[in-house]
Assembly symmetry: C2
Homo-oligomer: 74 residues x 2
């Protein structure tokens, strides 16, 4: 199981966060495109994700800048 | 020179971001407490930092959740 889950939607803000931050992590990162995997939106919301890009580490949601509200992905 | 600069103000949101994200980076991170080093607020703002906690990588500001507006630290 990955130590971090990076949720995104392929947006420009998401790509920047992925390249600069998610890809710089020393821990294992699973990347989930919520636009392509809408079945995982509920899981992201349960972890507290309200917008993308966001990374969940140790069950805590860390929103990175603001690309899109998760509501807009439903 | 550090590859990333993590700006914070010692707030609870800042501490969470530091422990979960900043300390998980594989790149070198300089940590700057803007409440204790107000002289560096201008540098943070020039990099686009509008609130803390935030990390600047490759000259780009990535805000992590929201602890305090940088204006509140002046």
């Amino acid at each position: 199981m990955a130590q971090a889950v990076f949720y995104h939607a392929g947006c420009p803000v998401c790509v920047t966060a992925e390249q600069l931050l998610a890809d710089s992590l020393a821990i294992s990162v699973e990347k989930v495109h919520l636009g392509e995997q809408p079945a995982r939106i509920a899981e992201a919301e349960a972890a507290g994700v309200k917008s993308v890009p966001a990374v969940v580490i140790n069950g805590q949601a860390l929103h990175i800048n603001h690309g899109a509200d998760i509501e807009a992905l439903k």
